[in-house]
């Protein structure tokens, strides 16, 4: 574990997983719902902005703004047009809405393939930076903006939840929407805000992560990113807003060090083992809130 290059990879990938997990975190605490379509939101933002730049020669910043807007709109539309109506129909039951959102996940993926093509497109660098060496490790140009944006996003969200009125309402609404409604909280508005903000954060994650990989981004990335972000949240827990980031870093460590010690063929087994350990022995994650009754 004393190869600094591998730690650079851990921090880069962990930052991305942390951001996706943060999106999950927000919709979980604000709407008590696992929005599995978060992965495709990130994919649409990244792939859509790449498509605009590469195929239509848009300036990067304009394309990125459209990408972010798309992920936010998709997230809002998922809440308004899918989850809310389904939950209303089944009187708040969770399984039908989870199934519905899984369908949304696949629908968005296929639509992205149809709109943007079935080949990978290279990610777009939002901030032009240079690659540099940190001791014996190389840090690629796109890694630093991703890490900086991750820390900034987590800090802003932590401050928002703690100090803003809407942020403080989040947990109340998520914990008990009925009670919150009776107390006069704008439940529907809060839910919508958490979905839209979650979608925006997912878009940021996708856009800043895509250029770190030579493999580019394809329409199929949404499902992988959804599962990775979910696992990062499970590992980190929901006890603190920084939990998803810790979970993302731990997941990234597994993805980097398991193949390093045991071979490239074992990476899937390493991630599976981590998932089983947490689901079986620590489903609440590393950080959880203890509630005194």
């Amino acid at each position: 574990m004393n190869n600094p290059q591998l730690w650079v990879s851990v921090v880069t990938i962990g930052a991305f997983y942390g951001l996706v997990a943060l999106s999950y975190y927000l919709t979980l605490i604000g709407a008590e719902f696992f929005n599995f379509a978060i992965g495709p939101y990130a994919m649409v933002a990244a792939l859509g902005s790449s498509w605009l730049v590469v195929m239509n020669e848009w300036p990067v910043w304009s394309a990125v703004l459209v990408g972010l807007a798309s992920s936010a709109v998709l997230a809002g539309a998922t809440e308004l047009l899918v989850i809310r109506p389904v939950q209303r129909q089944v009187m708040g039951g969770e399984l039908p809405s989870l199934v519905a959102v899984a369908a949304v996940l696949f629908a968005i993926q296929q639509l992205a393939g149809l709109l943007f093509g079935y080949n990978s497109l290279p990610g777009q660098e939002v901030f032009a930076t240079q690659a540099f060496r940190l001791g014996s490790a190389g840090v690629q140009a796109a890694a630093v903006p991703l890490i900086v944006v991750t820390l900034l996003t987590f800090s802003v969200v932590a401050a928002w939840i703690r100090f803003s009125r809407t942020g403080r309402c989040l947990r109340a609404v998520g914990n008990n929407p009925t009670a919150a409604r009776l107390l006069g909280f704008p439940v529907n508005r809060i839910r919508l805000i958490t979905f839209v903000v979650g979608g925006l954060i997912a878009g940021v994650a996708g856009i800043f992560f895509a250029p770190t990989s030579g493999n580019g981004v394809s329409f199929q990335a949404g499902l992988t990113w959804a599962l990775s972000g979910f696992l990062a949240l499970v590992i980190g827990g929901t006890g603190t807003v920084w939990g998803p980031l810790i979970g993302g870093l731990i997941l990234a460590m597994a993805q980097i060090f398991v193949p390093y010690y045991f071979g490239g063929e074992t990476v899937a087994f390493g991630v599976l083992a981590l998932a089983v350990i947490f689901f079986a022995f620590r489903p609440q994650g590393l950080f959880f809130r203890k509630v005194r009754i």
């Binding site: 290059q5 880069t12 990978s120 690629q140 990989s213 030579g214 580019g216 394809s218 199929q220």
Partner: protein, 341 residues
Amino acid sequence: MKTAQAAIDIINSKGGILGRPVQTIQCNDESNPTRVGACLQQLIGGGAVFFLEFTGSPAVIQSKAIIQQLRIPTLAPNNATASVPAPPNNDYIYTIGESTTAWGPVYCNGMQNAGIKTLAVLLDNSPTIATFTPALLGAMDCVKSVNKQTAPVNATDISAEIARLANPSADAILISSASVGFEILAHNQIAQQFPKATVFDVATLCNSPTNWKLANPGTLVGSICMGSMDPNNPETQRVQKLLQKSMGSSFQLDQFTAEAWDGVNMMNMAITKAGTTDGPAVNAALQTLTNVTSAYGYKGFHLSLSATKHNAPDGPCGLVLVQYGPTNTQQHPWDKFKPNC
């Protein structure tokens, strides 16, 4: 496909074939073997008399039995799989590109001259590469593969697998992948960890000029890849100039587009020679084409077909080990590679 269409447009501008314009109808099987049959039937229904297959190897292999039944002459210009032009069901199908069985001796030619005796191999985990790589290494008896690492083809980070290439270390690293993205990722991350390594890759990124700029600046410098283009080949220069008139001045002929050009050219020659579009007659005419000057490979490289020779290259001079220059562009044939052309 765009190059093939441009080549057909040039033929049509000169009166077409047998005095009739060539019309193209397309079907996209998405390189999916299960869709190939339906696609071919759709093309037949549209009146196709000749097939040009620009699709993945599994789909081409799946199509062989159908083509044999339909008796439609078929060229798969970009296919390098040895089993495609080989029996069974190969009476009507031909390939233009050098078969991968020719690659081993070509790599060996250069590696021996460069004093490379051991190789570390990084390959992706796709079924195609899992089959291709052992066959390639088996044909490279001049070097010993001392370290082999496999990484997921759609991985976003393979720094761990690359770090494992250090132990045991080797004289050179070979990247084996059918994915341009994987090759770019591998080059980027190998350059971070082993900036002085001698790196080879197979034909994937090598023949995708539009993707070279996606690699981090300077990471491809000095790398050697299995290309097919010698800029000094007069036929390459001629065809590139011709195609630039319709495809724009920035168009650069590469292996795939040169093979597409050669495919259309051979189709034209065969139908013209047969004097008819009847499948068996055109097929017989295809099998008489010899010493056709190719748009790829070294000067003097030719293509020939016969009843027993369904892979067109006349020898390995269609393969060029090319070295990248300072700006991630291909500079020249590798000076250690000395083919007898």
